[in-house]
């Protein structure tokens, strides 16, 4: 198909393999979509052909519709009035909602990743037994009668006995046709795991850094959730102080302030101690930062926490450091000094957006 040629050409331009002159018109946008209950953030490269066009102001004003009085804020952002220009060129197309994804998505989801060193834990390896109404039986209370199955059975009986008349498709079930839902016991071994994400949102983390961290933790989270049923997740953001937030907030928030990494570690410790006894849980803390901690004092405190609490109690502690213009990146070096050979600690450095996939492989790649 000819379109494949164009598609490949586009991809190689985006990757910068050809046409260097175009590089500055490649924008790395991304979009947040909603799939089922989860937010999906998908990177979306685009090349803009420069034309004479209006500047940003155009998007600051438009006509909308809905309840509202002067000065009342509108929901959402950036849903500015379109209906002109590009969007208006092809009237035949009718798209309900556009969000775009990249091959990286497929690549990551298809990747053989795993939670390293996962162990059967949880209520001392109890096998849970669940009752589900997924079985079918010929007897049961009327309240549990399955209409569809009963009808099918009756229909089959009619057809096989030759009584079925297509022009008057009346089906009367008799007792023998009745089908009921019934309890079916399913057994499943139980392994409990919790992943705790910690993100540095301090002032030294620029928008780009935060974006990288969010993208990476998002993908890790998406992948793990898909592959480990019943995985629990907790989210912590920190600057000079730490707080637990919802998933939604974690992926959207932007704050600023100083950095005390220990604050996050302390909160994480507290969460683990109260909610996740190590005998029952596989615990995976992930921490992302630019590595620019406020003081050596605090770093020492972190090392102590890691040594005395985290490493003995968690399965693997993962630390990802994103490169930043302002940050010294000292924290990673400190960690390397202390724990380089420790199997229970995974360190990864994320230099840029393009390295996110590699970093995820560092954390979750097989053979750890």
């Amino acid at each position: 198909m000819a379109i494949r040629e164009d598609q490949n050409r586009f991809k190689s331009i985006v990757k910068g393999k050809v046409r260097e002159d175009f590089k500055r018109f490649v924008t790395n946008g991304e979009m947040i979509g909603k799939r089922e209950d989860e937010f999906v953030k998908i990177p979306l490269p685009k090349i803009d052909i420069p034309t004479f066009r209006f500047g940003a102001k155009e998007k600051e004003q438009g006509v909308g519709q809905g309840d509202g009085d002067n000065g009342q804020p509108q929901q959402g952002q950036g849903q500015s009035g379109s209906g002109q220009g590009e969007a208006g060129e092809n009237p035949g197309e009718h798209i309900l909602e556009v969000e775009i994804s990249l091959e990286e998505l497929a690549e990551i989801l298809g990747e053989k990743l795993e939670l390293p060193n996962i162990q059967p834990k949880g209520s001392s390896q109890m096998i849970t037994e669940k009752n589900r109404y997924s079985g079918i039986a010929p007897v049961g209370p009327e309240g549990l009668r399955k209409f569809k199955q009963t009808y099918k059975k009756a229909l089959a009986r009619y057809i096989s006995s030759g009584a079925y008349n297509p022009d008057d498709p009346k089906i009367v079930p008799i007792r023998r046709d009745y089908q009921y839902r019934t309890v079916k016991k399913t057994q499943s071994p139980h392994t409990k795991a919790v992943v705790i994400y910690m993100m540095d949102v301090s002032g030294s983390m620029g928008d780009e850094q935060k974006e990288i961290v969010r993208l990476e933790s998002f993908w890790i989270n998406t992948w793990l959730k898909k592959h480990y049923k019943g995985l629990e997740t907790r989210f912590i953001i920190h600057d000079a102080s730490a707080k637990e937030v919802s998933e939604d907030v974690f992926f959207k928030t932007s704050e600023s302030g100083g950095t005390l990494i220990s604050s996050a570690y302390k909160l994480c410790q507290q969460i683990i101690q109260t909610d996740y006894p190590t005998s029952d849980w596989n615990i995976y803390p992930f921490h992302f930062s630019d590595g620019d901690n406020w003081s050596g004092e605090d770093t020492r405190l972190c090392m102590q926490l890691l040594k005395e609490f985290f490493l003995p109690n968690v399965n693997v502690f993962s630390y990802g450091q994103v490169e930043s213009k302002y940050g010294s990146g000292q924290f990673l070096k400190d960690l390397q000094k202390e724990f380089l050979d420790d199997q229970r600690m995974t360190l990864s450095q994320i230099e840029s957006r393009d390295k996110i996939l590699d970093s995820i492989k560092d954390f979750l790649g097989k053979g750890k």
Binding site: I3, D6, F10, T51, N70, Q79, G85, G92, H94, I95
Partner: protein, 501 residues
């Protein structure tokens, strides 16, 4: 007929007949049933099966197909303005969806055939596009992929510099300013004839005449009138090689082909939605489909807070017009009536609604449509407002619900179809063969970095320095790209971007 399943074909016949009974008048419409991959491909090609090779189609395709694969969007229908009309149905859509799409498509086809802005479009564009593809492939074979691609990119950067209003006129011709030598240019006015020799002595007269001729030779302006159709001008006068000229002509042709669709988006979608809704609810739907239909229809005409949905505005305006003309809410009596209650209960039983909307779909475009039929009552009823970005909170807030403000904002968005108005003022600027462009500033600045690059691209075609007069941050400025440097001069004397010579 195409590859519809028997079931769909029966429905198609039925719907086609219903559409005809509704007095819709369309070219023969051929439906093709295709899968999502094909529909993504066609959609990225602007609806056509074959286009010239270019990465931007690949970009479109990447976005469409990926977003479909991850369940984020879905193209329901696509129709192209040709004779016969081609429309695509997607495999695997529900029967109700297919019927809805067919009804909608017949609405579009009627619009394509009858709206005046489409009267000059090439209805054999399918062949034309394939033709373009062949020509460009030939150039690629001869001059190399990258050379041709680069030139296409340059052309696409100027693609919007066309004169959308010239669609109905014949090909433009560019003339230098008239250069007649008038006696009044070099003689003094004489009240009394006997003073003639004294005021205008013959010897001096001859001298003045020569001077005037010389002055005019210098001052000859070209083109005579400012040119809005910049692409056509460049094709004729820029020092291009033959193949480049042809490529530029291809870009121009396609740009003009799509222009009327951009000019009538709101009307076209409104018209098609009006008819699909009418046909579906009155004739086509069966009981089991009504909920799905309502769900889908409201999804299409749903207007997000702070969003502009042409489907919604279009269909509501169409219905409003029909209702007004049915009840006789037009003309002098109506305009002069100030009594709210009387206006509310106004019903002259004129019953002209249907006729009126047929007339509207024939002779209006989005700008004239909104200008003429958007009424204060309509805005109030539909709770329309103008929103603005509040810089402090970075949120959009309702700025005003004032009718005039809404209308002027809408018209501004639609005027020149969201594109800045830029004209060639002088193609021999400073008598050095430079190009002088003037941007008619209407409140919005041009985006500086894009302007810079577009001027470079224009230079690549014109090969002489490019000058652009516009306003930047409330100051008149002239930007200039001379092949090496990009410079800005403030025009301190006036706020008026017109150049005086």
């Amino acid at each position: 007929m195409a590859n519809l399943t028997l079931e769909l074909e029966l429905e198609r016949k039925k719907i086609c007949q219903i559409a005809k009974n509704c007095n819709l008048d369309f070219f023969e419409t051929i439906f093709e049933l295709i899968n999502y991959d094909q529909i993504s491909q066609f959609a990225s090609y602007g609806g056509f099966p074959v286009r010239y090779p270019h990465w931007r189609f690949g970009m479109e395709y990447e976005q469409l197909s990926k977003s479909y694969e991850y369940g984020l969007s879905k193209i329901y229908e696509m129709v192209i303005n040709t004779d016969p009309c081609y429309a695509y149905l997607m495999e695997g859509n529900s029967m109700m969806d297919q019927k809805l799409v067919m009804a909608h498509v017949y609405g579009h086809c009627d619009f394509f055939k009858n709206n005046i802005w489409f009267s000059k479009t090439n209805r054999k564009m399918m062949d034309q596009m394939a033709n373009h593809a062949t020509r460009i492939r030939r150039y690629i074979d001869r001059y190399g992929y990258e050379t041709v691609e680069k030139f296409i990119d340059t052309c696409l950067s100027l693609e919007n510099l066309i004169d959308r209003h010239s669609i109905l006129n014949s090909a433009p011709s560019f003339k230098p300013a008239k250069n007649e030598l008038r006696e009044s240019d070099y003689t003094f006015a004489v009240e009394k004839s006997y003073m003639q020799h004294y005021i205008n002595p013959p010897a001096e007269l001859e001298k003045q005449k020569q001077l005037q001729i010389e002055r005019m030779r210098v001052k000859t302006r070209f083109p005579e009138e400012p040119v809005k159709d910049i692409l056509s001008f460049l094709i004729q006068f820029a020092p291009l090689e033959e193949w480049q000229q042809d490529v530029l002509a291809i870009i121009k042709d396609e740009s003009y082909y799509f222009a009327p669709q951009g000019m009538t988006k709101t009307m076209n979608e409104g018209w098609a939605s009006y008819w699909h809704s009418h046909m579906m609810t009155k004739h086509i739907l069966n009981d089991s489909e009504i909920i799905d239909f309502a769900d889908h229809h409201s999804g299409t005409t749903f207007m997000k807070m702070g969003g502009y949905n042409p489907y919604k505005v279009g269909i509501e305006l169409m219905r409003d017009i029909e209702q007004r003309w049915n009840k006789g809410k037009f003309g002098r009596d109506w305009e002069n009536c100030d009594d709210v209650r009387e206006r509310k209960n106004w019903d002259k039983k004129t019953g002209l609604g249907r006729d009126k909307i047929f007339e509207v779909r024939k002779i209006y475009n989005d700008v004239t449509f909104i200008d003429e039929f958007l009424t204060e009552e309509f805005c109030v009823k539909n709770k329309m407002f103008v929103y603005k970005l509040d810089k402090e909170t970075n949120k959009f807030v309702v700025d005003t619900t004032n009718f005039k403000a809404i209308k002027s904002q809408l018209l501004f968005q639609l005027a020149n179809f969201g594109q800045p108005i830029i004209k060639i003022e002088d193609a021999n600027f400073e008598n050095r063969g430079e190009l002088l462009l003037v941007h008619s500033h209407e409140g919005l600045d041009l985006q500086p970095n894009y302007m810079d690059q577009s001027m470079r691209n224009l230079f690549a075609i014109w090969k002489r320095p490019i000058n652009l007069v516009t306003m930047m941050e409330n100051e008149g400025a002239m930007f200039r790209f001379d092949g090496k440097n990009y410079t800005k001069h403030n025009l301190s004397d006036s706020k008026d971007p017109e150049m005086k010579d």
